[in-house]
C-alpha cells in the first residue's frame, strides 16, 4: 500500500486519529539482499511462518497419540479434515481424492492467515494483492496444466459451449476465454478486497471511538464488537470460498462442464 506517506497531505485524513491504511504497511524485520533482489524477512513472512508452524504442529502433535475417542485437539484436526474432504468429494467427485492435500493446504493456510489478522496487533497477510494473486495464479496455472494433461488438446473444447446456434459461437467462445482468464484476478481480488475492506472498516470505527470521546464513544465501540464478530465470520467464509472455487476450477479441468 502506498499510503504510508499520505498522513499529512490534503486528504483530510491528517486529523483522523487512526490512519486506516497504516496496518497494511510491510516492515522489514531482517534485511536480506541477494544480487539486487530484495528478499527481506518482513512481518508478512513472519506471519506466514507462524501460520504454517501452527498448522503443522497441531496436525502433527494431535495425531501422534491416536485414540478411538479423540481428545479435543485431535477432534479439531479430524473435523477440519472431514470438512475439506466433504467439500472435495461434493465438488470434484472421486477423482478429486488425489488433489485433497493441495486443497486442504490452501484452505488451512488461508484460514489461519485470515484468523491471525483478527488478533490485535496482528498482520493480515491476505490483505495484500501480491500474496493472494500469487496463490490464485498458482492455482490457475496448475489447474490448466491438469486440464491439458487430462484431455490433451481436447481441453480447448472447454471454451466451446454445447447446444448453441453456430452463428452465436464466435462471440460465446470469446466470452468463455475472457471469463476463463479473469479467474485468477477475481479469485485473488475477492480475498484481498474482503480482508482489506474489513480491516479498514474496523480501523475507521476505532477512530470514531476516539473521536467521540468517553461519553459518545460507546456506540461505535458496540458496533465494532459486532463487526469484529462479522469479520471473524468473513475470515472463515473467504477461506472456504477460496477453497471451494479451487475445487470448482479443478472440477472444470477434470470433467469439462
Amino acid at each position: 500500500m502506498a499510503s504510508s506517506g499520505h498522513n499529512g497531505d490534503n486528504h483530510g485524513a491528517g486529523s483522523f486519529p487512526a490512519d486506516p491504511m497504516h496496518q497494511f504497511e510491510i516492515k522489514r524485520l531482517i534485511d536480506i539482499d541477494i544480487g539486487g533482489l530484495d528478499i527481506s524477512f518482513t512481518n508478512s513472512s513472519l506471519f506466514m511462518f507462524i501460520a504454517v508452524a501452527i498448522i503443522s504442529l497441531t496436525t502433527i502433535f494431535s495425531v501422534r497419540k491416536n485414540s478411538i475417542v479423540p481428545n479435543r485437539l485431535q477432534s479439531i484436526v479430524e473435523m477440519s479434515y472431514e470438512f475439506v474432504a466433504d467439500m472435495v468429494r461434493q465438488n470434484v467427485g472421486s477423482q478429486g481424492k488425489n488433489y485433497f492435500p493441495f486443497i486442504f493446504t490452501i484452505f488451512m493456510f488461508v484460514l489461519f492467515l485470515n484468523m491471525l489478522g483478527m488478533i490485535p496487533y496482528g498482520f493480515t497477510v491476505t490483505s495484500h494483492i501480491a500474496v493472494t494473486f500469487a496463490m490464485a495464479m498458482l492455482i490457475f496455472i496448475g489447474v490448466t496444466i491438469i486440464g491439458f494433461l487430462k484431455h490433451g488438446l481436447g481441453f480447448f473444447g472447454f471454451f466451446v459451449p454445447k447446444g448453441v446456434p453456430i452463428f452465436m459461437l464466435p462471440l460465446l467462445v470469446i466470452i468463455e476465454v475472457i471469463s476463463y482468464f479473469t479467474r485468477p484476478i477475481s479469485l485473488s481480488v475477492r480475498l484481498f478486497a474482503n480482508m482489506m475492506a474489513g480491516h479498514t472498516m474496523l480501523k475507521v470505527f476505532s477512530g470514531f471511538v476516539i473521536l467521540m470521546g468517553f461519553l459518545g464513544g460507546w456506540l461505535p465501540l458496540a458496533v465494532m464488537v459486532a463487526f469484529t464478530g462479522l469479520e471473524i465470520l468473513i475470515a472463515f467464509l473467504q477461506a472456504y470460498v477460496f477453497a471451494i472455487l479451487t475445487c470448482i476450477y479443478l472440477n472444470d479441468a477434470l470433467h469439462m462442464h
Binding site: 491504511m21 475477492r190 484481498f192 478486497a193 475492506a197 471451494i244
Partner: protein
C-alpha cells in the same frame, strides 16, 4: 476541475457498486429463507451454496471499493 477533486468524486462514484452488492446479498438470503421455510428438510444441504452465493455477491461490491481505494491512495 482540479484533478484531486475529480479523484475524490470518482472514488465516491465507485462506491455505488456497494448498492448492487446489497441487492445481491438481500436476494440471496431472502430467497434462501423463502426456500428454507417451504422445505426445511432441504435447507441444510443448500447452506454451503448460500455461503458461496453470499461471498460471490459481496465480492462484486468490494471490487468497486477497491477501485475507490486505488483512486484515493495509488493514483
Amino acid at each position: 476541475m482540479e484533478p484531486e477533486a475529480a479523484k475524490l468524486i470518482g472514488a465516491g462514484i465507485a462506491c455505488i457498486a456497494l448498492a448492487g452488492a446489497g441487492i445481491g446479498i438481500g436476494t440471496i438470503f431472502g430467497n434462501y429463507l423463502a426456500g428454507a421455510l417451504r422445505n426445511p428438510s432441504a435447507a441444510q444441504s443448500q447452506f454451503p451454496n448460500l455461503l458461496l452465493g453470499f461471498a460471490l455477491a459481496e465480492a462484486t461490491g468490494l471490487f468497486g471499493l477497491v477501485v475507490a481505494l486505488i483512486l484515493l491512495f495509488v493514483l
